[in-house]
C-alpha cells in the first residue's frame, strides 16, 4: 500500500526546504569568505599570486559541481576526517561559489575608475587602505545585484547535494515519492517550492540593479 500525498508529506518537503535554506546559508558564508581571499589574490600586485587565483577560478569554473561534490565527499574522508555529508557538500559548494563570486567581484573592482586609485595614492594611502576606504566601498555597491543573483544559482545548486545524501528538498522529494508514488504532484511541488525561494531574490536583484543604473 502506498501512502497518499497529504499534509504529512507536505511537511516533509518543507523540512527538506529548511535544509536547502540552511545549506544555502552555510555555502554562501563559505563562498563569501573564500571569495574575498580569492579576490584579494586576484587583484594582488604580486603576479604569481594572481596566477594562482586565475588558475583556481578557471579550474573550478571548468569543473561540474557534481564532480566537486564527489571529490570533496571522498577526498575529505581520505584525509581521515569523518565529516558529515552536509559539511562535505558545504565545502564543495563553497569552493564552487568562491570562483564565481571572486570573478563577479573582480569585475566590480575593475569598474572603479583608475583615477580613484591614483587619487587615493596621491593622498598617501597605502594599497590596503586604498582598497578598504576608497575602492571596495564603491565596488561593493556595484557588486550587490550580481551577488544576489548568484545566491539564486547557489540555492538551485544545493539540489545537487541530494546526490551525496544530504536530506535537503530534492532528496526529501525522492523519499516522499518512494512512499507515495505520486511523482507528478511531488516533483511539481518541489519545483514550486524552489521557485518560491528563488523568485523573490531574482526580483530583488533586478530591482537593485535598476536602482543602481541611473547612478552610473
Amino acid at each position: 500500500m502506498f501512502r497518499s500525498f497529504g499534509l504529512n508529506e507536505c511537511l516533509m518537503l518543507l523540512a527538506g526546504l529548511q535544509w536547502t535554506a540552511g545549506l544555502t546559508v552555510l555555502a554562501f558564508a563559505g563562498s563569501f569568505a573564500l571569495g574575498i581571499v580569492l579576490l584579494l589574490a586576484r587583484i594582488a600586485r604580486w603576479v604569481p599570486l594572481r596566477w594562482v587565483a586565475i588558475g583556481w577560478i578557471n579550474a573550478v569554473q571548468g569543473t561540474p559541481l557534481l564532480g566537486l561534490l564527489f571529490v570533496a565527499f571522498f577526498g575529505l574522508a581520505l584525509c581521515g576526517w569523518d565529516v558529515p555529508r552536509w559539511a562535505a557538500a558545504t565545502a564543495a559548494l563553497s569552493v564552487y561559489g568562491s570562483a564565481f563570486l571572486a570573478d563577479i567581484w573582480r569585475g566590480s573592482v575593475q569598474a572603479i575608475p583608475l583615477g580613484q586609485w591614483e587619487a587615493s595614492a596621491a593622498l598617501g594611502l597605502g594599497r590596503w587602505r586604498q582598497l578598504r576606504h576608497v575602492v571596495l566601498p564603491q565596488a561593493f555597491a556595484i557588486a550587490i545585484p550580481p551577488t544576489v543573483g548568484f545566491l539564486v544559482q547557489l540555492i538551485k545548486n544545493t539540489s545537487l547535494a541530494s546526490v551525496v545524501g544530504v536530506m535537503e528538498l530534492s532528496r526529501m522529494a525522492q523519499l516522499v515519492n518512494g512512499a507515495t508514488f505520486a511523482p507528478f504532484i511531488v516533483y511539481a511541488c518541489v519545483c514550486g517550492l524552489y521557485f518560491l525561494l528563488c523568485y523573490p531574490l531574482t526580483w530583488w536583484s533586478r530591482r537593485l540593479e535598476a536602482r543602481l543604473a541611473p547612478a552610473r
Binding site: 579550474a59 569554473q61 571548468g62 569543473t63 561540474p64 559541481l65 557534481l66 564532480g67 566537486l68 564527489f70 571529490v71 571522498f74 577526498g75 581520505l78 584525509c79 581521515g80 539564486v152 540555492i155 538551485k156 545548486n157 539540489s159 545537487l160 541530494s162 546526490v163 530534492s170 522529494a173 525522492q174 515519492n177 505520486a182 511523482p183 507528478f184 504532484i185 511531488v186 516533483y187 511539481a188 518541489v190 519545483c191 524552489y194 521557485f195 528563488c198 523568485y199 531574482t202
Partner: protein, 221 residues
Amino acid sequence: MSYTFRFTPVFNRVDQLLDGLAVTLWLSAVVIAAGFLLGVAGALAIRSRQAWLRGLVRTYVEAVRNTPLLAQLFFIYFGLPGIGIRLDAVTAGLIALTVNLGAYTTEIVRGGIDAVPQGQIDAGIALGLRPVQVFFLVVLKPALKTMFPALASQFTLLMLASSIISQIGVTDLFHEGSLIDSATYRSFEVYTVVCGCYLVLALGFRLVFALIYRLAFRAPA
C-alpha cells in the same frame, strides 16, 4: 594520511571514459543547437505583438531560471509518467537540458537584440528588405557578435551541467565515472580524473568558440 593513491585501475578503463566523453559531447552538441534555436524563437516571441505569447515566454523563462535543473530533470523523467507521459532517459535528459538552455538563451538573445539601435532596423526597412531579412541580416547577425561571449560561456556551463543527467542513468562521462567507481572502489581517483576530463572539455569548448568567433566576426560586419 596513510592512503596510497592508485590511478592505474582508473586509467585501465580509459576506453569507458572515452565512450562517456563521446556521449557527453554529442548530447551537448544537440542541446546547444536546439537550445539556441529555442532561445532565438523565445526572444522573437518576447517582442511579439501578442500579449499572451509574451506572457507565456516570460513565464517559461522565469519558471526555468528559478528552479534547479535537477528538479526539472526529475519532474520530466519521474514526474511526467504520473500523468502518462513516459520518456526514456536520453530523451528526458535532452528535453530537460534543451528547455533549460532555451530559457537562458532567450534572455541573452533578447538582451543582444535590444542593444541593436532602432535606426539600424529603420534603415533596413528603408532599403526595402523584407521583415524576415531585416530580422536575420540587420538585427540577429550584428547582435550575435555582441552576445557571443555570453552565449559561449552559457554553452560551456551547459556542457558541465549535462553531468546531472547521469543521475537518471544516461551513460555520459560522469555516469561512466560512477560505473568505474563501483567496479574499482577508487572513488577519489575516479572523480578526480572525471573532473579533469570535464576541465579539458571546458577548455576545448573555449578554444572552439574563440575560433568560431574569429572566423565568423573577423571582418567588419
